[in-house]
């Protein structure tokens, strides 16, 4: 099922929850697409600035350079920066998989084994003059069972608000509780 939430900056986000089996759940968060008006505003601003430079310097290579730079900049933005969807696949007793798919179609995946995962928690931290809530995976310290060796923040670019994070947290905890109740097989 799909529900609508808001990100920390106010943009609408869609959270889709799918239950594949009793111990496997997928949560996908879809970010707003690149809007045509902001794209055309940025392109026109860049090309107007280049035209102004051309009028000042009487050098026509400024115009062709501006066109090429905007094209390459747009492609690099879509491929490296603009994230379309971030998803979390929690498989009890196997692990957690985090996928980010970019606007150009590229997908980058990280898989964390269940034995390394200590817990999935909602943490608060200071980020750029704001205090935000964010979901993170706590990785276990191999020497110390209570200790935390690493923190992996999730949903970094969509930054959902607390109501969405609570839903994701509850779904993850339902799966993570099962591994405490059935520790017979390792």
């Amino acid at each position: 099922e799909e529900r609508w939430y808001r990100s920390a900056s106010g943009a609408p986000l869609a959270l889709r929850r799918r239950q594949h089996s009793a111990s496997c759940r997928e949560l996908a968060l879809r970010c707003p697409r690149l809007r045509l008006r902001s794209l055309s505003a940025a392109t026109s601003a860049a090309w107007l600035a280049a035209y102004g430079l051309f009028l000042l310097t009487e050098n026509s290579t400024v115009l062709s350079a501006a066109i090429i730079i905007t094209m390459i900049g747009l492609i690099m933005y879509l491929h490296f920066v603009k994230i379309d969807q971030e998803s979390l696949l929690v498989m009890g007793s196997l692990g957690i998989q985090v996928t980010s798919s970019y606007a150009s179609g590229k997908e980058s995946t990280t898989f964390i084994e269940m034995s390394q995962v200590q817990d999935v928690v909602i943490n608060e931290a200071i980020h750029m003059q704001k205090v935000i809530y964010y979901l993170c995976i706590l990785l276990q310290d191999p020497g110390n069972p209570q200790g935390v060796s690493e923190v992996v923040p999730l949903f970094q670019s969509s930054k959902p608000r607390l109501d969405c994070l609570i839903e994701v947290y509850k779904s993850c905890q339902e799966i993570l509780e099962q591994r405490k109740m059935a520790p017979q097989s390792s």
Partner: protein, 125 residues
């Protein structure tokens, strides 16, 4: 250590008052009196008058940059979102568990984040 007025404090205050007036008058003399007059009085080794304008300018720019620098240092020293400093620190790791006493207020301790999350976000039915 109270902030009440004392005779010694009055004397320090007055000495500072006279000293600051003296320094200000000296600065005005250095900046405005022509060099030839100062030479004729025998004061030949005073710093260049350029510094009478340059030092206040340096001071004001330093104060302005100080605001930006403080802002930047604060931003640099906040822990990033993926560091364990947002969850625990040395004092919390080494804390000792006090024994539980009946009918007493529990001792102050740092509660692990998993427990706090369960209490806040998982409703007990």
């Amino acid at each position: 250590n109270s902030p009440a007025p004392l005779p010694e404090r009055a004397i320090y205050g007055f000495a500072l008052f006279l000293g600051s007036w003296f320094g200000f008058i000296l600065y005005l003399i250095w900046a405005y009196v022509p060099e030839t007059w100062l030479f004729s009085l025998g004061l030949t080794y005073w710093p260049q008058k350029y510094w009478a304008v340059a030092l206040p300018a340096y001071l004001l720019v330093a104060i302005g940059i100080g605001y930006i620098l403080l802002f930047g240092i604060n931003m640099m020293s906040t822990a990033p979102l993926n560091s364990t400093d947002t969850i625990t620190d040395n004092y919390a790791k080494k804390q000792q568990q006090k024994k539980f006493q009946e009918d007493a207020i529990p001792a102050l301790r740092d509660i692990p984040i998993s427990e706090v999350n369960r209490m806040f976000f998982l409703p007990e039915k």
